[in-house]
């Protein structure tokens, strides 16, 4: 079922002796606001982790940048198209859900047969017929592709994308939007930079590798029910998103990303009738630390959620909130994360189904 409720979420993770997001223009040093020693992490870093993770789990991904699979968009759409045309049951289900599509097909198809792929390919490979039925073919392709692409590609349902169908470019804004993350405290770069060596038979590379001692970084995000309608994001997708946010980070174990640990995830789910958002939840956190001391772990911080909890309670009284779901790392030191709002636990470590 397509989402019917807006939500706001906050995701916190720890970065220990790691580089959560390098700036290619600064020797790949962690992105930082040096004036305030605040670590920054882009939204695309989060989305890449999620896409890579879902891909590993067998989900087809639209924005795929891995070198092993550079398939141009039209070839990708063709493969998806053929999969749907070959699957009689799935294809007929589309007709039930989309009358317009059924009409477009009926005006196009020249036989009543159910070997849809054969009928379709015969038609579009016949130059004479293509010339005659040009606009009908284009109408059908438009409806069909728009529908099945969203059904087949989870990253479009979550994050949206620009794409072109029948020469027309359309842009889907993703229901899930994630802000840049920032560290909730000043952070320090490790002072000596490890020298990386890559040695081949006849050449070697030497370079600097920059890391942070420690940072607790938080991203804020929203899930928008109106955009969900346009991309077809479902309740199941929301659950997949949460788990891939946490597990995608855990499974990214490249050299620079080792040492990143998801710490907490909280999502405020609003009532279906409520059209609002609280906005950036990070502004309701109070983080304190000893200014004289270097911050080397969660034990050097106090993260207090009191203000967020109060705001949520107030909104619950007005019946704006349906529920709050949350997850905290099972081994987190709760002496340093205080006064979390009441939430319904979701297990974000639980395995996801393969795509």
């Amino acid at each position: 079922m397509v989402l019917t409720q807006n939500s706001d979420f906050i995701f916190g993770f720890e970065a220990t002796m790691t580089n959560p997001n390098g700036d290619p223009d600064q020797e790949n040093k962690p992105r930082m606001d040096y004036e305030t020693s605040t670590v920054l992490v882009s939204d695309v870093r989060r989305k890449r982790d999620i896409r890579d993770f879902l891909k590993q789990k067998g989900y087809p991904i639209f924005v795929d940048t891995l070198a092993d699979k550079k398939v141009p968009m039209d070839k990708m759409f063709e493969t998806i198209r053929d999969q749907w045309l070959e699957d009689k049951e799935a294809f007929e289900k589309l007709f039930q859900q989309n009358e317009e599509l059924l009409r477009a097909w009926n005006s196009l198809a020249e036989s009543d047969g159910t070997n849809y792929k054969e009928i379709y390919l015969k038609l579009i490979n016949d130059k004479e017929k293509v010339r005659k039925k040009k606009s009908m073919i284009s109408d059908f392709n438009n409806l069909f592709l728009t529908d099945i692409i969203k059904k087949s590609l989870i990253d479009i349902r979550l994050f949206g994308s620009a794409m072109a169908i029948e020469g027309i470019t359309r842009t889907y804004t993703g229901p899930v939007q994630v802000t840049w993350g920032y560290s909730l405290h000043p952070a320090e770069l490790v002072k000596s930079n490890t020298i990386t060596t890559i040695m081949n038979d006849d050449a070697s590379n030497f370079g600097k590798k920059h890391k942070l001692y420690y940072a607790l970084i938080a991203h804020y995000g929203t899930i928008n029910k109106y955009s969900a309608k346009l991309t077809g994001m479902t309740e199941t997708d929301r659950q997949l998103f949460r788990k891939s946010l946490v597990q995608g980070m855990m499974s990214n174990q490249t050299d620079s990303k080792q040492g990143q640990t998801p710490l907490f995830y909280l999502e405020v789910i609003y009532q279906p009738e409520f059209d609002g958002y609280l906005g950036d939840l990070r502004r309701f956190l109070t983080v304190t630390y000893d200014e004289q001391k270097s911050i080397r772990g969660l034990h050097d911080l106090q993260v207090d959620f009191t203000q967020l909890s109060k705001t949520i309670e107030e909104m619950k009284k007005k019946d704006y909130i349906d529920m709050v779901v949350g997850w905290v790392h099972p081994f987190a030191d709760m002496n340093h994360i205080k006064n979390l709002p009441k939430y319904e636990m979701v297990d974000l470590w639980a395995p996801i189904n393969n795509g």
Partner: protein
């Protein structure tokens, strides 16, 4: 309109993504239309310069910072999925509060629409919750979709047009064409870091700037009114003076 980070792309920058210091009028009408649930590119007439007046002020000190983004290189529609072998490394200018951890970006926006119905729906929307904000469409963002923000409704005021040159403290950014003379006062109450930016104001249906679709604005980057002799302004019934971005 508040948030933690913003990017308002200067439309003419391509190899690097520079940002205006404040949201241009076209961005603000996009946000208003988006909150009201209008579709992309469907609202330019409804929010044209002669229909809708917008003033704005920067109310919290901001700074800009460059971050190089490793973006997909898209030279043709077939590459929307990242199938181009190369990436495009684009220096991107971000707007940040002085301290992102403790501070926020804070733009004050005044809106007037000729059509009372639009005003009514906007007010309904703004007043519907005192926690955060409501939207019949988009999630509110300061420029790019990922720079999520939130709204706080201030109040409703009546205003009176003053179309004779007058020396006033203008709360909002001022169109350069209305400035007869800047009367900069240097004291503790008034600090200035003035910049002039040529901001887009209005599009036609094809997203091209219209004849009056661009204008030089004088912006104070630190949150103090600008004292100036202006040829046109609006005096609000709370005593403040603003100038529409036009």
């Amino acid at each position: 309109m508040q948030g933690k980070m913003a990017h308002f792309r200067r439309y003419y920058s391509n190899s690097s993504a520079l940002s205006y210091s404040i949201p241009p009028r076209t961005t603000i009408i996009g946000i208003l239309a988006g909150l009201l649930g209008y579709k992309r590119d469907s609202y330019y007439d409804l929010f044209a310069l002669d229909q809708c007046k917008i003033a704005m002020a920067n109310c919290s000190p901001i700074k800009k910072q460059m971050q190089k983004m490793n973006l997909l290189k898209i030279e043709r529609p077939n590459e929307f999925n990242g199938s181009n072998e190369y990436h495009s490394q684009t220096p991107t200018e971000l707007i940040l509060p002085q301290n992102i951890r403790t501070g926020i970006i804070d733009y004050h926006i005044w809106v007037y629409h000729k059509d009372p119905k639009v005003m009514e729906i906007l007010e309904q929307l703004f007043r519907s919750t005192s926690y955060g904000f409501s939207s019949y469409g988009i999630s509110l963002a300061l420029g790019t979709a990922c720079h999520l923000g939130w709204l706080k409704f201030e109040s409703e005021w009546e205003g009176e047009y003053k179309n004779i040159p007058e020396s006033v403290h203008v709360e909002s950014v001022i169109p350069a064409k209305y400035v007869e003379r800047l009367e900069v006062e240097v004291d503790k109450q008034h600090e200035y870091r003035l910049v002039k930016e040529d901001l887009p104001l209005e599009f036609d249906q094809g997203r091209r700037l219209t004849e009056h679709g661009k204008g030089n604005m004088i912006i104070n980057l630190i949150p103090y009114p600008i004292k100036a002799i202006v040829t046109s302004h609006v005096k609000l019934n709370n005593g403040q003076a603003i100038t529409w971005m036009e």
